[in-house]
């Protein structure tokens, strides 16, 4: 027990407890830390959803999407979607004017995807390129969305294209995606082509308009477009949905009850 032998002269051998420490070079990295690598790999979940995923109660991302639960820890996505690959789209230097000249930071745009129906996009700014990229990857994982794929004509084999014509807009850039027959490939500019490859779409015709030179808007417009694929009501969704219980229901606020007795009775019943 390292803290017992602390240099508290007035305390004798009594422990310093909390609040006894001041930054000291010798005591910095104590015994329990076996190495930085081990700590980084171990994930201790902080949110309830994280705990459910950690204990394997939730097996797929789709369960989370079904109930629109906010994903706050990127390790959740790591665990449920193991084949995620990432790609840096652009590193853009941005500058801030200070008294002593200009301070440059780097803004990183990262796209992640598993080439099979999940894409995410993240943007992070930082003083160092590596930190910006790392932060952007985490943000991209937090923003992973499902992509719906469909057929152009005959429903043979696996879905390969968008289910219908969809369009997404951001700023002045609009991107329109049109279903394409098999073998057409992704007919798009370099930037959205990357995103669509990550999404797992094999064939699509695209058409864009506006100032596509601004990469931020262009990428975000394709992202919006992909988001809409599951928002489009097609005849197969006409059947009424049977709602299932979410892994954890959002807590409803208890209405303020005037009499104390009523409040006491309810929780007791719950406990029993």
């Amino acid at each position: 027990m390292a803290e017992r032998g602390g240099a508290g002269g007035e305390r004798g051998g009594f422990g310093r407890g909390f609040g006894g420490g001041r930054p000291r070079g010798d005591r910095g990295r104590g015994g329990r830390r076996r190495g930085r690598r081990e700590e980084e790999e171990k994930w201790v979940p902080v949110t309830k959803l994280g705990r459910l995923v950690h204990s394997d109660k939730i097996r797929s991302l789709e369960q989370i999407y079904l109930h629109s639960l906010p994903i706050k820890e990127h390790q959740i996505v790591d665990k449920l979607c193991p084949g995620l690959k990432d790609e840096v789209m652009k590193i853009m230097p941005v500058q801030k004017q200070t008294r002593a000249g200009q301070r440059t930071r780097f803004k990183a745009f990262v796209v992640v995807g598993d080439n099979n129906g999940h894409v995410g996009l993240g943007v992070k700014c930082s003083k160092e390129v590596a930190t910006a990229i790392r932060g952007a990857i985490i943000l991209a994982k937090l923003s992973v969305i499902p992509v719906r794929r469909g057929y152009w004509g005959n429903k043979i084999g696996k879905p390969h294209t968008v289910p219908c014509k969809v369009t997404g807009k951001c700023g002045s850039v609009t991107v329109r995606m049109v279903p394409a027959p098999r073998g057409a490939g992704i007919v798009a500019a370099r930037v959205p082509k990357k995103v669509l490859q990550f999404a797992g779409i094999d064939d699509v015709f695209t058409s864009s308009r506006g100032s596509t030179k601004t990469l931020g808007n262009f990428v975000k417009a394709t992202f919006e477009c992909l988001l809409k694929t599951y928002g489009f009501l097609t005849p197969d969704f006409w059947r009424e949905t049977r709602f299932t219980k979410s892994p954890f229901q959002e807590h409803t606020d208890l209405l303020a009850k005037p009499t104390g007795k009523l409040v006491l009775e309810e929780p007791e019943r719950n406990d029993a």
């Binding site: 017992r4 305390r11 004798g12 051998g13 009594f14 422990g15 310093r16 407890g17 909390f18 609040g19 006894g20 420490g21 930054p23 000291r24 990295r29 104590g30 329990r32 830390r33 700590e39 201790v44 902080v46 949110t47 705990r51 204990s55 109660k57 906010p70 994903i71 706050k72 820890e73 941005v94 500058q95 801030k96 004017q97 301070r103 930071r105 996009l121 943007v123 700014c125 930082s126 003083k127 930190t131 932060g135 943000l139 923003s143 992973v144 969305i145 700023g171 601004t214 931020g216 975000k220 892994p247 954890f248 807590h251 606020d253 208890l254 409040v263 309810e266 929780p267 719950n270 406990d271």
Partner: protein, 416 residues
């Protein structure tokens, strides 16, 4: 006359300036403000924080009260073993159930009367109570505070009737100077005032625990206990080095852990840069709509920003469960930006009337270590922050109640 006065005031309000100058001045002023914000962030980073990690106790006797441990889960190691909290203080004010022990922190300060100083955290197991507690928490200066999370502070001078004056040897042979009060057989936490009427051996803190113990086995054991108690002495429940782990009958107590103390590693300059990054820092020439729109959806609103910086800060030591910092200017690390108390929300000390200051906060990793269920109605919080008397006042009750602020994770925005 008044009309003339009004028009004079209106004329005074008029200023003749050129529009361009105004805009430039405003923008430059904003830039200066941003710089000041950066400096403030840097200062905040330098607050020295001690972290608490949980580990399995090394020996069965490591967490007994004569060793002044910091621990989490199971039963508390009461500092003052005789003058325990009783009556209304032990129960949840909302549902009436006795509170369950969460953790205790050994945090002595440089005062003679607080040579030994321990802070205990208790909370009610029910999530419904925690939700109602949120309502109560936001009430300022209520007549009778009714909380489901309670924090107690106990302090003793070095020379006290309960423990020897010399430091413990930590080899399994330490004993306190006297025995403590008898504790409840079911929870092992609170004072066992009430006796079981048939065997006169089992003690309980409340009727509820007596009923629970009866139904889960005491009915059968009661006969045997009353016979054996006449022949031999009951094993003492406090302080002896014999195995006292089996004495608690309740199955709902959380697993026991020892709390290890470590300093937080120095935040690098890089960290503070990243934090300042979240405010707008694109230079004047490059500001355009694309930047703003991108930032809005991908860098998020206030809640997401505070969550992101919270994750970054704990990412260096993801297993931490407690953050301790009693310095004057210390601020807790808030996971959410909503649900934070203002200065006026924190009341004054109940006993001395002095102000309260932030001392430590409990993080949700503890729920993972306690293996709390993830059902609909199980406990879940974002952080519990403890505010204690700044002067750590002395006198009066042995266990003084302090103030707890609970922040729940808000069911907020969905994935974009």
């Amino acid at each position: 006359m008044s009309q003339e006065g009004d028009s004079m005031e209106k004329l005074k309000g008029l200023q003749i300036t050129s529009l361009d100058d105004d805009e430039e001045e405003v923008e430059e002023y904003n830039m200066n403000e941003e710089e000041d914000d950066d400096d403030e962030d840097d200062d905040e980073e330098e607050e020295f924080v001690t972290l608490g990690f949980v580990e399995k106790p090394k020996n069965p006797w490591s967490l007994l009260r004569q060793l002044f441990p910091s621990k989490a889960g199971s039963v508390p190691a009461w500092l003052d073993p005789v003058n325990l909290p009783s009556g209304k203080a032990c129960v949840c004010d909302i549902c009436g159930e006795p509170l369950q022990f969460v953790l205790q922190v050994y945090a002595p300060i440089e005062k003679e009367y607080a040579f030994h100083r321990m802070l205990f955290v208790f909370m009610c197991l029910s999530m419904n109570c925690l939700l109602r507690d949120q309502h109560e928490q936001w009430k300022r200066h209520p007549e009778k505070p009714s909380r489901s999370v309670k924090i107690f502070r106990c302090q003793l001078p070095r020379f006290n009737p309960f423990y020897p004056n010399e430091p413990p040897r930590c080899d399994g042979t330490d004993k306190p100077s006297g025995t403590g009060a008898a504790l409840c057989t079911w929870c092992g936490t609170w004072k066992g005032d009430k006796l079981c009427s048939s065997c006169r051996t089992a003690r309980y803190c409340s009727e509820k625990h007596q009923a629970m113990h009866w139904h889960s086995g005491h009915k059968i054991d009661c006969q045997r206990m009353s016979v054996s108690s006449q022949s031999s002495d009951c094993p003492n429940k406090n302080g002896t080095t014999s195995a006292n782990l089996q004495k608690v009958a309740s199955k709902t107590l959380w697993p026991e852990y020892e709390m290890i103390i470590e300093n937080e590693s120095e935040p690098s300059a890089e960290m503070s840069e990243d934090k300042a990054c979240t405010s707008s820092l694109v230079s004047k020439e490059k500001v355009d709509d694309t930047m703003n729109s991108l930032m809005d959806s991908f860098e998020g609103d206030d809640d997401r920003k505070s969550w992101a910086s919270f994750q970054e800060r704990i990412g260096k030591a993801p297993e931490q469960v407690l953050r301790y910092c009693r310095n004057g200017g210390a601020k807790p690390l808030w996971p959410m930006s909503s649900g934070q108390p203002s200065k006026a929300d924190i009341p004054k000390c109940n006993y001395c009337g002095g102000p309260l200051c932030f001392e430590f906060q409990i993080l949700p990793q503890l729920l993972y270590y306690f293996s709390v269920n993830n059902e609909v109605d199980s406990l879940d919080w974002a952080t519990i922050v403890a505010y204690t008397c700044e002067a750590s006042c002395e006198g009066g009750v042995a266990y003084k109640e302090e103030y707890a602020w609970v922040q729940l994770s808000s069911p907020s925005a969905t994935v974009p």
